[in-house]
Symmetry: C2
Subunit: 187 residues, 2 copies
């Protein structure tokens, strides 16, 4: 796995922090520009404010990759619907046909995602490219989460916004583990 | 409990259908105009297209009531964000200070809600009037569901949209029971 950052040193610092927590696999740090050239999947995990510029900057290198968008539009910690309809639709508009953008992993707490022993919530996955969506669901199942095909890219505003609601619940109940589980389907 | 409809006969037909399923309590049917005069809570459960006109028509009689809005904006079965930001905000804009609108019960399947033996999913409740929100949560807990304060009225678009995602999941998995459960909080 590769950690990218605008600053290679920052990426390497994160690698140094994460490596002791890992049980298996490689982890290296480099600039975003170099990182996105590697592998099949590129995970976007930045604050909403930084997403558009970052994707503009990486547009050429993202061609042919599957982009996993975890970005949640927040204003002072509260969810909102950006003009494009969602962070995902904004990213897809910038990338055009260059790379499919699949929304996923928004609703899992960073704390739980960073703990190999934690029980993960369900992951709602959305996007318009069905092949890419299935591949992303397969990858996410490998980290131990149940995945659900939550429909087209147009549904992304719901899944992104749900994180804002979970942040609200976490604050109210002093938790860092809020997440959701789908019931009445496949159980 | 009172069932309201534009047509009193329709309301009475629904009452005749529901009564055999009830274990306790009274149920009567009447026109919306008469129904909203009774009791403390008024539940709006109509298709999104009919909501604005209905609330306009009932505006005078709704003064001082707590309005529970279960309405989900759907276009051809798919969720969308209406111009006002959500069905709830649209209803609240029409009612102004006349009555607080609290969003709730969107994500429970009608089948499960109609079955006294079913296990209900969690209910996310939102709205800007804290007193009214707490009262609504108390009422919903009495029907056997866990409730969560999901924040201000501005969050309603997420909770309404989630129903659209659950409808998608139900269709895909041939279920009528799709719902959500909050994890990592209070459990």
């Amino acid at each position: 796995m590769i950690i990218g950052s605008r600053d290679a040193q920052k990426a390497q610092n994160v690698v140094a922090e994460l490596k002791p927590k890992m049980r298996a696999g490689e982890l290296v740090g480099m600039t975003n520009q170099e990182a996105v050239k590697q592998g099949e999947f590129v995970v976007i995990a930045v604050p909403y404010e930084g997403q558009a510029q970052m994707i503009e900057d990486l547009k050429g290198q993202l061609a042919g990759k599957i982009v996993i968008d975890t970005v949640v539009p927040l204003q002072k910690g509260k969810p909102f619907v950006p003009p494009a309809g969602s962070a995902l639709l904004e990213a897809q508009t910038i990338l055009g046909d260059e790379a499919p953008v699949i929304g996923a992993l928004h609703n899992i707490s960073a704390v739980d995602l960073g703990d190999v022993d934690s029980h993960l919530g369900d992951v709602l996955v959305c996007g318009d490219n069905e092949t890419a969506k299935q591949k992303v669901m397969e990858v996410i199942r490998r980290i131990g989460a149940r995945t659900f095909d939550a429909g087209p890219a147009a549904n992304a505003y719901v899944i992104e916004g749900l994180t804002g609601v979970i942040i609200h619940l976490n604050k109210k109940h002093k938790s860092k583990h809020g997440s959701i589980r789908i019931t009445g389907i496949g159980d």
